[in-house]
């Protein structure tokens, strides 16, 4: 057991071992060995590594998160309007699983064909498929975002219009390929609240801070080694 304690003590950073290693080993020699001491030493070594090596990256990451969140707060608010469309497969495979795959592929094709601007509009397929009299159906959430509530609503309406027009085209020419029927379940909303991308920007700031800190620590170590 004492051998394990001594081996655990080797996990401490080299610089720490140079300063405290000998007296720490003497302390271990005087202890009545217990498993909890092994865990305590391993945890102590881990904390020492984090506090010594990661201090700069962690500090920069925290700074990055704060800066990212602060920048987000200074940026204009974003309003998001949403609408919901029921998408049904009017023909196609009889098998349920094949119908689910078919409706996903067909809906994706329609969304692509309607040329929705991904920067402004997010149109996502609801992951939760439902059954409707044996027909595969899905829900299509259409969202439009803009700097004001009315504009966000207009963007959602534009996206809906694009999807519906695609459906009409599909009905006339490519109907047999698409085989979809759209039913508007929820009209585009007029958003009453806004949001900012504080979480995303904070995360980006944190990752950048961590990366910069890591590079600085690596460079400093190389320089010291040289």
């Amino acid at each position: 057991m004492r051998t394990i304690l001594r081996a655990a003590a080797r996990l401490y950073p080299r610089a720490w071992r140079a300063r405290y290693g000998e007296e720490f080993d003497v302390l271990i020699d005087h202890l009545t060995p217990r498993w909890r001491d092994v865990l305590n030493i391993i945890l102590g070594a881990l904390i020492m590594h984090i506090s010594r090596l990661a201090a700069l990256p962690v500090a920069l990451a925290i700074g990055g998160v704060t800066l990212g969140a602060a920048v987000s707060m200074l940026m204009p608010p974003v309003y998001t309007s949403s609408a919901r469309v029921l998408v049904q497969l009017t023909n196609g495979p009889v098998d349920e699983s094949e119908r689910v795959l078919s409706i996903r592929a067909a809906t994706d094709a329609v969304l692509k064909q309607s040329a929705i601007d991904k920067k402004v509009i997010a149109a996502t397929l609801d992951q939760q498929f439902k059954r409707d009299g044996g027909l595969g159906v899905t829900l299509l959430d259409v969202q439009g975002s803009a700097g004001s509530a009315p504009t966000a609503k207009q963007e959602t309406e534009k996206a809906l219009g694009a999807i519906m027009r695609t459906n009409l085209v599909a009905s006339n020419g490519q109907a047999q390929n698409a085989g979809l029927r759209f039913t508007l379940l929820e009209l585009p909303t007029l958003p009453v609240t806004s949001h900012r991308d504080s979480t995303r920007n904070g995360a980006i700031g944190g990752v950048l801070g961590l990366a910069v800190g890591g590079v600085v620590v690596l460079l400093a170590r190389r320089r010291k080694a040289a």
Binding site: E22, L27, N40, G44
Partner: protein, 111 residues
């Protein structure tokens, strides 16, 4: 065995809950000690069983902050003593904790 909770008992338990560094400072307050002696002393006066990793984590932090310092010794067991800054820090922390303990106990008696 039962005994009434005294101000001193409660204060040490509050310290134990807060920071091993304070326990180390309290252990060194009257005399220099090496690591094993600190562990035994802390176990005796506070009823806290500090692990070796926790003890040396506290010693490292306290030495870096200039609150304790190593004492020249021929013994392989390195003794430490509290510095003047360490005494001031310990006094401030204990005074603050003492106020919390006294207030808490008084309010419990009044309730």
């Amino acid at each position: 065995m039962t005994h009434a909770t005294t101000w001193r008992d409660t204060q040490w338990h509050v310290i134990a809950m807060t920071d091993p560094s304070l326990l180390v400072l309290a252990s060194l307050a009257n005399d220099e000690k090496h690591g094993y002696a600190m562990m035994a002393d802390i176990r005796a006066f506070a009823g806290v069983d500090l692990g070796p990793g926790t003890l040396y984590g506290a010693i490292t932090r306290l030495e870096e902050r200039g609150l304790i310092e190593p004492v020249q010794s021929d013994d392989r067991r390195q003794p430490y003593r509290i510095t003047a800054a360490g005494k001031r820090h310990l006094n401030e922390q204990l005074s603050s904790l003492g106020a919390i303990v006294r207030t808490g106990l008084r309010r419990l008696r009044e309730a």
